[in-house]
Amino acid sequence: MDLVNPWLDSVEVRRMAERLLAPVQEQAVPAQDAGFGEQFVGYEPVHVPIPRPAAVVLPPEPQPEAVVEPQTEVRGPFLDRVGRLRDWLHFHFQAVEVFLLDREGAVIFDESRHGKLHFLARSLAVASRRPGGMAGNVHVKVGAAATLEVIPVDTPYGCLVLGAVVPAPLDLAAITTVMDALRSVASPPH
């Protein structure tokens, strides 16, 4: 009695096995073959507007204090600049446990000393990465009034991931401000 073959499609198995022995071809599809003309150079990044609810008349809400950009003219060493960014995050967003991971996931600045927060930030940053694109910002609730914000930012030193625990998730405007601030801190002097 044949103990194996009746359970398998031997032709398919052979085909899969032979594929394992062949070099993997990295496919580069020319623009024309993909149905585009010679003028096609790729897509522009598109900023998708966030849908907002229809305007309704409401009594004016108390406005939050205007967020002031961190002072970056006085440059100094990189870690000093990150320290000033941390102070700015504390002041404007009540952020605590601020840390910064480099593109390898290694900790380059840390006031949290919680390996699990780093691990969580690293996992979230990787999981939020879109194929061929940057990782997006994500947040996760880590306590009753504590949210871990994970903000990956593309900088001249590669992708840095900023982690900070804030009382409530940051809105899009705040995230954009923080990203700009980190990008500025991580830019080499002109």
């Binding site: 398919e12 198995v13 070099p23 991971l101 390898e104 996931g105 699990k116 780093h118 990787v126 999981a127």
Partner: protein
């Protein structure tokens, strides 16, 4: 003639041929070469193969690091009494503050070192998002390379997902132990499918091939299953050397030793030496070498 004598006589015939194909161990490859020992199915002898193969390379003068990436910590449990207290591979993944030097456990053989599974291995138990650990696994392999090892053998948990997937997607090669029994052979399509998927993530991944394990010479079903596998797969994908099932492996792990260290272990050691020579030959073949070095 006992079982080991039979194996030894088979090997005696094939060893000169294999040695002619291979260059010596000292000339192994430039920089560290990492290969993963992985299988779709559990209980196929991955840890036994990992320990004894690593020992065979180390005996041949190759500076070898054996890494336990199986959260069950079987390598550590087999070779060190304090394995549950050691900082290990999963701690490195969880905490970038831990350096490789803290993980390395030397052995009595100068060329043979270990990294245990570690304390943080519970992370894997809850399952992981594929790719979550990729950056850290690659950082680990870079650290191993800069530490001067020639070879890094990584024993993994069964299945090709989670951390195991990330380890395969970061390594140079993969070796697949396959138990010589019908049920094991029937799981081969799933394993091939998984490896083809991982090669899309890691195009330089070299599939060294399948090693038949736990072969029982006195059991017709075991021999038939082995034969069926050899007919099913291309010859290049199945190692000529096979690992027999033997009580000697149980005795060796009970004493916390590679089987070749036992007084009566010379026959078993010859099996792993033959396997080492076959692996070296595969790494040295020009096509495969081009594949691994891009």
């Amino acid at each position: 003639m006992d079982g080991w004598e039979a194996w030894r006589s088979i090997l005696k015939k094939s060893l000169p041929l294999l040695q002619a194909e291979a260059t010596v161990a000292a000339d192994f490859l430039n920089g560290v070469t990492s290969f993963v020992i992985s299988s779709q199915k559990g209980g196929v002898g991955k840890t036994t193969l990992s320990i004894n193969l690593a020992h065979a390379f180390a005996r041949a003068g190759v500076r070898t690091l054996l890494v336990d990436a199986d959260p069950q910590g079987s390598v550590g449990l087999s070779l060190t009494r304090q394995s549950r207290l050691l900082t290990g591979f999963y701690d490195f993944l969880a905490d970038p503050g831990i350096s490789l030097d803290r993980l390395i456990v030397p052995t009595r053989l100068e060329t043979f070192s270990l990294v245990a599974s570690g304390q943080a291995s519970d992370y894997e138990a809850s399952g992981g998002i594929g790719g979550s650990y990729l950056a850290r696994v690659r950082a680990f392999l870079r650290a191993v390379s800069s530490r001067g090892f020639d070879l890094c053998i990584i024993d993994t948990a069964a299945g090709l997902f989670g951390v195991t997937g990330d380890v395969i997607a970061s390594s140079d090669a993969v070796l697949i132990p396959q138990q010589a029994e019908p049920l094991g052979i029937r799981s081969v399509p799933k394993m091939l499918e998984g490896l083809n998927r991982l090669r899309v993530m890691n195009p330089r991944l070299m599939v060294l091939g399948v090693v038949l394990t736990m072969v029982q010479q006195d059991l017709a079903e075991s021999l038939e299953a082995g034969q069926a596998l050899r007919q099913l797969l291309p010859p290049d994908l199945v190692f000529r050397t096979a690992v027999p099932r033997d009580g000697l492996f149980v005795r060796a792990s009970a004493r916390g030793l590679p089987v070749g260290v036992l007084e009566e272990g010379a026959g078993a050691q010859a099996v792993f030496d033959a396997l080492r020579v076959e692996i070296e030959a595969k790494f040295e073949s020009p096509g495969r070498r081009a594949q691994i070095h891009g």
